[in-house]
C-alpha cells in the first residue's frame, strides 16, 4: 500500500492502525486468514477488508476503530529496534531543515525508521532520502518496511558506517540529519554531501558534551547560524475539578461585616443584575451568594467546580539537544 497517500477502503496488504484508546493502538498489516488478539477479543483480518479507514469494526467484546496510517501514528506504533525520535522533535527537525517536496535529504542512522517515514512524507513525490545505517539487520528491516509501505521509490537505504567511511555522495543534499554517538566524525563528509548552493544540517544528541564537540567542528567547517535547542511536549487532560471549600468557622464582630461586604463584591462580578434588584435586601443577597457563578467555574456551599487542562505528573523531561546549522553557498 502507499503509506503516504490517503486511500478510502482497506485492502489486503494495507497497514492499519487499530485504535482502542489514546494510548492503546496497534499497527497491523492486513493478511487474509490471520487474526489479531485485542482487549475486545480476536479480530479476523478478513473482517477489515472492504471497510473504510476511519470506520468501526466489531469484535466479540466491543468495537475498535481502523485508522489510516500516518508517519505520526506509525511513530507511536512501530516495532522498536533502537531508541526512536518522537513527533515533537521530528516536527522541529522537518521545519528547521526546511523540508518540502523536492528536498534531497541524507540521514544517519536509520534506526527504526521513525524519522525516515516523516521525512519521506514531507519530500515526496519529487524528493529523495538517502538513509545510512551501520547495523546490517536494521538496514535490511528498514528497507523491507519501506517496501511494504509503498514508499521505497523515495528512499535509498545503505548499510554503511558513515563515521569511518563517509556518506560517499557529493553535492546532492539540501539537508543532512545526524543521530550518531560521535556526529563530529561524520561532519566533514556531511559537508561534502550538501549541495554547492549550501543547505541545512541537524545533529541530534542526548548529551551536552556531544553538542559541544559538534558545534566546535561545525564552526571549523564554516557552518554558520548555529543554534542548539530542546523541545518538549506537554499533554493536558481535560478534567472537571471540584475543590472543597474550607469550613473556616462562624464569623464574629468586625469579620462578619467584612465578609458580607466581600460577598457583595463577588456577587457584583457574577451577576450584576441580581445585585441591583436585591441590594437593599440583605438576606436575599446572602442566599444568592451561595450559588454564585464565577467567571472561571462554579461555586456552591461546599465546593468550587471548574474545568482544567491538567498536565501529567510525570513526563519525559529530556529527549536530546537538536543542533542546527546552515552552510552558505561555497
Amino acid at each position: 500500500m502507499n503509506f503516504c497517500k490517503y486511500k478510502e477502503i482497506i485492502e489486503e496488504g494495507d497497514t492499519v492502525i487499530l485504535y482502542l484508546g489514546f494510548n492503546n493502538m496497534h499497527a497491523i498489516t492486513v493478511k487474509k486468514g490471520e487474526t489479531f488478539q485485542t482487549r475486545y477479543g480476536a479480530l479476523r483480518h478478513s473482517d477489515l477488508i472492504g471497510i473504510k479507514f476511519g470506520g468501526k469494526v466489531q469484535c466479540p467484546k466491543g468495537y475498535l476503530i481502523t485508522l489510516h496510517p500516518t508517519p505520526e501514528l506509525w511513530t507511536v506504533n512501530l516495532p522498536h529496534r533502537t531508541q526512536i525520535l518522537y513527533t515533537t522533535d521530528i516536527s522541529l527537525v522537518t521545519m528547521q531543515l526546511e523540508l518540502r517536496p523536492g528536498s534531497v535529504v541524507v540521514e544517519s542512522g536509520t534506526g527504526s525508521g521513525s524519522l525516515s517515514h516523516a521525512i519521506i512524507r514531507s519530500i515526496m513525490p519529487v524528493g529523495h532520502l538517502y538513509t545510512f545505517e551501520f547495523h546490517p539487520q536494521r538496514a535490511a528491516l528498514a528497507e523491507q518496511e519501506f517496501q511494504n509501505h509503498g514508499i521505497s521509490q523515495y528512499v535509498t537505504v545503505a548499510h554503511r558506517d558513515v563515521c569511518s567511511d563517509g556518506f560517499g555522495i557529493e553535492n546532492v543534499a539540501d539537508a543532512v540529519f545526524l543521530d550518531l554517538p560521535c556526529p563530529w566524525l561524520a561532519l566533514p563528509s556531511a559537508k561534502k554531501a550538501l549541495k554547492q548552493q549550501g543547505g541545512r544540517l541537524c545533529s541530534f544528541s542526548p548529551c551536552i558534551e556531544q553538542v559541544q564537540k559538534t558545534c566546535e567542528k561545525l564552526t571549523e567547517l564554516d557552518f554558520v547560524e548555529l543554534s542548539t535547542m530542546e523541545c518538549l511536549v506537554r499533554n493536558f487532560d481535560i478534567r472537571t475539578i471540584s475543590l472543597p471549600i474550607a469550613d473556616l468557622g462562624p464569623h464574629s464582630g468586625e469579620a462578619a461585616n467584612n465578609s458580607s461586604r466581600q460577598k457583595a463584591v463577588l456577587l457584583d462580578i457574577g451577576d450584576a443584575d441580581k445585585t441591583q434588584n436585591t441590594s437593599n435586601d440583605e438576606n436575599q443577597m446572602k442566599v444568592n451568594t451561595r450559588y454564585h457563578q464565577d467567571l472561571i467555574g462554579q461555586k456552591n456551599e461546599t465546593s468550587f467546580c471548574f474545568k482544567s487542562g491538567v498536565p501529567p505528573t510525570q513526563m519525559p523531561g529530556h529527549t536530546g539537544f537538536l543542533t542546527f546549522a546552515t552552510l552558505y553557498p561555497q
Partner: protein, 478 residues
Amino acid sequence: MCSTLYSFTAKVILMMESTCLNSIKDESQVLIKKGENIKIFRVKKGRDIFMDNTKFSLDGAIGHPFGTTFDVVKGTLVKVANGSNKEIESAGKDTEGSQLKDNRDLYDLNSNQKLSKEEIERLKKDGVSGNELVEHLIENSLTFQKKTEYSKEKYIKKKKRKHVLQLTILRPTTRLLCEMYSKSAQKICYLRVDTLAQMLTYGNIHAGITVAVVDTCQGLVVGAVMERLGGFGQVIHLYHESIPNRTAVESYDFPVEMMKTLYSFPLNQVNTLTLKKATHEVNNECISNSDETIKDTSEQMDLEPDASRNVCDALIVDKNDISEKRTDVDSDANKLCEKSVGKNKTEGKRTHDESERKARKEQRAKEWKDARDLLERGQLDCLIIASKLHPTPIVRALMKFVAPSRPIVVYSQFKEALMDCGVSLREEGGMVNYRLSETWLREYQVLPQRTHPKIQMSGTGGYLFTATTLAKISVMTE
C-alpha cells in the same frame, strides 16, 4: 492520473528551483538577516531601502545566490569574501593567562573609551569601514587589554553589531519567516515556530492533499502549508473579515503555478455550505488528486446552485444595479472598490473602472465557487485552524467536510478555548484521538566552557488541539 498530475507539478518544482532557489533577481522577495534581526524586502532596481537607520540599495545583490553575505559600503552592497570574518573575531585574542584575569580592577567609566562620540561620527563620515572603526575603538579602549578573553570576544561582538552593517540575504522560508515574526508575535497570534512545526506534522501535510486553513496569522500558516504541498494539492484559505490578509504568503514569492493551488473562501459564508454526495464512490486510489472528480462534482453542482450563489451570479449579471442589490454576501471588499471608483469622476474612467470592477467581481465569484466546490465535496484531507477567533463553532461547522480518518489541528493562544473545543467535540462524537498539548522550546548558547541555556526564552507558543475524524455514517448508526 496521479502520475500525470505529478509530472505537471514536478515542472513547477523545477521552476521553483531555477527561479527562486538559486539566485537573487529583480523583484525577488528577500529576507535580510543582520545578526538576530530579520526583515523582508522586495528587490526593486534603483530603489533604496532603510535598515538600521542606513539607506542603501539592494541592486548589488542581484545575480548573487541566496545565502550571500554583503557589506554595506556607501549605500551599495559589496560581497564579503569567504572567511574574512574569522580574522576580526580572532583579532583581540591573546592566549596567555587570560583565564587568570577577572574584572576586579575594571570600573564602568565613560572615560574608558578615549574616542568621543563626535570623533566616532567623524570617522564614520570619513568613510572608515565598520571593521576598521571597531579596531579604532579597541585601540582607544583603556580597559580592553585587561578583559578576559571571553569578555574581549563579547566586546568585539557588541561593537560589531553596532558599527558593522554586514548582512546576509536569504530566501524566505517558513523557518525564517517565523524567526522574523517572533519579534512581533502579536501579528501571528503568538504562534511559535515549534508550534507551527507540530501543526504541519500532526496535520500530516504532504504533497497531493487538500487542506482547509482558517488563518488570521497574516497567512503564515497558509504559506507554510503551501510550502509543504510544493504545488501538489490544494489549499483553501478560509478568511475572516472582508479581504484575505495574506501578507506572509506574498513573502514566500511562490511561482504563479503554485499560487493557483490556493483558494479563498470567506468564513461568513461557511453556513451556506452543504455537503454534496460524491458522484462516484469507487476505490479510487487518489480521490483527492483526481481532476475528474473535481469536474464531475462541479458540473453536477452547476445544475443545483444554492441561494447564496444565485445572489453572487445576480451581482455579476446586473451591472447597473450593483449597489442596490448588495446583500450580506457582498462584503466590505466591494465597498473599498466602490470608494476608489467614487474618486474618479470622469465619465470615461468610470466606465473603465466599472468593467474592471465587474471583472474583479467575476474573478472573485469564480474563486469563491471553486473553493465552495472543493469544500462541498467533503473530501478535505486536513483542517487547520490558527486564529484569534473562538475555534469551537468553526470546527463544528467545517468538520463534516473532512474525509474520514484525517487529522484536524486547532491552534489557540489560550488553552481554555481549546478545552471548550475538546469538550464540545467529544460530546458531538465523530472523532477520536483527542489531544490537547503545548510545546516548550529552550535555546542554548554553546561556546567552549560557556554553554548554558539562553537567558531569555519564549514563555508561550500557544496550545494545540488535535483529533482524527471518523467515517460519518458508521458513527451515526452504531
